[in-house]
Symmetry: C2
Subunit: 340 residues, 2 copies
Amino acid sequence: MTERLTLEIIGELAGVSRATVSRVVNDSPGVRDEVRERVLAVIQETGYQPHSAARSLASNRMDLISLVIPTSTQSLFTDPYFPRLIQGVTQSCNENNITMSLFMLHSEDEEERLYPRVLNRGYVDGVILASFDRADPLVARLEQNKMPFIMIGRPEESSNASYIDVNNEAGAYAAVTHLVRQGKTRIATITGRQDISSGKDRLAGYKRALIERGLSVDENLIVNGRFNELEAYNAMLKLLPHQPDAVFVASDGMAYGVLRALRQANISVPDEIAVVGFDDLPSSATSDPPLTTIRQPIRRMGAMAVDMLLDIINEGIDPPRRVVLPTELIVRQTCGTLNL
Amino acid sequence: MTERLTLEIIGELAGVSRATVSRVVNDSPGVRDEVRERVLAVIQETGYQPHSAARSLASNRMDLISLVIPTSTQSLFTDPYFPRLIQGVTQSCNENNITMSLFMLHSEDEEERLYPRVLNRGYVDGVILASFDRADPLVARLEQNKMPFIMIGRPEESSNASYIDVNNEAGAYAAVTHLVRQGKTRIATITGRQDISSGKDRLAGYKRALIERGLSVDENLIVNGRFNELEAYNAMLKLLPHQPDAVFVASDGMAYGVLRALRQANISVPDEIAVVGFDDLPSSATSDPPLTTIRQPIRRMGAMAVDMLLDIINEGIDPPRRVVLPTELIVRQTCGTLNL
DNA sequence: GTGAAAGCGCTAACAG
DNA sequence: CTGTTAGCGCTTTCAC
């Protein structure tokens, strides 16, 4: 095992002290250009890489953030939401030269065991929480430990945590309004989990659209699909007897289940029932028929979460950062618009 | 900011030296039970957590491994393969108390920039490579740096890297043999990427089954779908004129594209064409119709990869570890068996 | 501008 | 069994 390169050695080779090399490595000011060049050359030649642990110990920064995802979310495996989110997060991490560690909480038990690793400043600089139950105790623990963190999706009203979210309410509102404009009058909805802000907000948008457009909210036309394809399939079956002429589904993944149910029941989309989803997953452009949906910038949200977290780490937790990103209605076949 | 707890402080509180506390924290032998209890109590009370960087610096272990995924893999977003793999990996990491960092390589460029972070012992203890091009230069670099690593999927023959794989060849063989037994004679295949071992091996299994069963290999019946739903859809369209009576599709994700193409062409499955996939994704049980497929233990593979990597880290790189996991034929509707 | 020196918190010999 | 000691490789004052 060849001896590890250290600042000391590089310094020797370049004829300067360890401290100077450190300055060069960190782009610190106060080094003569000529010297900087010389040191850089040696680093280049030798392929020197700083030892991250040593750096962390001395500087008290880990250059490590963690993304925590609760796996109660069964949709994790069926829904490309998370892969895209993860992609956004890693991309921004790469750009900022920090590394991302991923925690998936498989059970209460594991959650408990992982707490220290996620809460402790000696492990990570900050935490991103995705799709968390709005009242999850982890949130409180993080606050209490003064660990910088940011949520994807809104936390409880009372909390003054930082978050980034998509305007779910407005997206749902746009979807349902669009349906109303098509002349639909019995618009049903299959909702997402109601313990997550996105699920709640999409339902709220649905209701507001109905009310503002002079339609009444019929509880028979509201079924919970929990962001799950199979549950949405069953939910659609339950909805059928109530004869909706349209259904707003709180996620594309669930919308696939709805289309499947409708196909099997021999009900034509969009002629007999119009369907609008939420997410605009890539496969929604080629579903059968192609799905009208609300596009949300998942990847960008992941990337921005990192940027915001870094800002919090560097500038302090207060004031809380809050960002809400807009959505966009993507009209395809399932809403019937293109038939008119 | 309250002062950081250190071994020193805990020691003081418990009336022992820093070293003893360290022993207790690390479950090292050679501490009297009574003392151990006492120290443990203080740790419990204070909520002391070791500083990971300090520990790493002193012990030269990072307790960090990285999972590297090339994003050339577009299927990343449509195919639940990766989420499941990641799940297996994180689960095993959690059990072993190490953290997993995820790298997704979005571009050549980024790959280059990330090399140091992945190759350098100062950053991670080891690396898991998923779905890599079999000749990717990263493999050679890792070997050359003596960085412990393990591939998911087989590397080039010449390489003596450690790997874990699924018996793709045997799985494909089983799928096609099953089709032959149903009396199919014009069995087509839509293959995966041929620069990845799983893609190659599944094609090889297809060919062997045909040959061993006395059928000839017709190049017209072989189309590359690159593990992509849309390409598979197009591939199926291309296949239609050659009138296959069955098609073995190298992944479930692609099989969905095939079913879509067939549905649109008004060709009934399985009556006119039988379809068999590969993966057994959760949604394959509820596809339309439910998909006959080859199940592979994706999550387990991820978990085992971690265990093997840890073994390599602890015991040394030689000899290479190699594991090949079996697959299983899952018979559902699309192969026609259940109609007989 | 540059170097010397003092830690960061921990592990791992080595003594006792 | 337990304590003492010497680093691990780096950042960061503080002198010069």
